[in-house]
């Protein structure tokens, strides 16, 4: 999580005015993919930058597995808001180029008013908060 503003803070502040939809997509660094847990440097880096992320998750192969991991993730990260789960064809992930993480703000006409760049480098909750402030 980058910066001093967390998504939890933003949700707490704006959830009555903005609908928050956390969407669980395919894993970023699963054990059976681009795993960071096998390298001491990346393991330490992840624990420092994102202490709540898991290091021991395999990429779910079925929608049931995906929902299970999403539920565990939801509980662990404690955003306080229900998580929705992308289907195994990654359709929503692909249409938003969302992997590994990305933020958007959509207005009431269905138009994009904030589109973060590709994650993780442009994952800045503070910028989303600014966009919300400017939009409301």
């Amino acid at each position: 999580m980058r910066g001093t503003v967390s998504l939890t803070d933003i949700y707490a502040k704006y959830h009555e005015q903005v609908q928050f939809l956390p969407i669980y997509i395919r894993e970023a660094h699963p054990v059976d993919g681009w795993w960071f847990g096998g390298n001491l440097f990346t393991k330490k880096l992840m624990k420092t930058l994102a202490p709540k992320v898991a290091m021991d998750v395999h990429d779910p192969q079925t929608i049931e597995q995906r929902r299970q991991v999403a539920g565990t993730c939801e509980t662990s990260l404690s955003y306080g808001v229900g998580t929705y789960v992308d289907e195994m064809d990654d359709a929503v992930n692909k249409s938003y180029a969302a992997w590994p993480t990305r933020l958007y703000l959509i207005d009431t006409d269905g138009v994009v008013v904030y589109a973060a760049g590709l994650g993780p480098y442009d994952f800045h909750p503070g910028k989303l908060e600014k966009a919300i402030e400017n939009h409301l």
Binding site: V18, T101, L103, G119
Partner: protein, 63 residues
């Protein structure tokens, strides 16, 4: 279903470049979708919130 394997920075960058060109930009209509929650229930559709509330989309995973 066979997913494209992302095993290192090179394959990750290739995936992102492939899909980012079609991702919505500011001013574009956001692609509509319908998804279920982590219990496989409570369907939500992005367009359900049209003319009601702005929507913050937060994409991510556990790792």
């Amino acid at each position: 279903m066979m997913m494209t394997k992302i095993t290192n920075r090179k394959t990750a960058t290739r995936w992102q470049k492939k899909y980012d060109v079609q991702a919505p930009k500011v001013g574009d209509i956001a692609p509509d979708f319908s998804l279920l929650d982590a219990n496989g229930q409570n369907p939500v559709r992005l367009s359900d919130f049209r003319h009601k509330k702005p929507v913050a989309l937060i994409f991510g995973s556990f790792t």
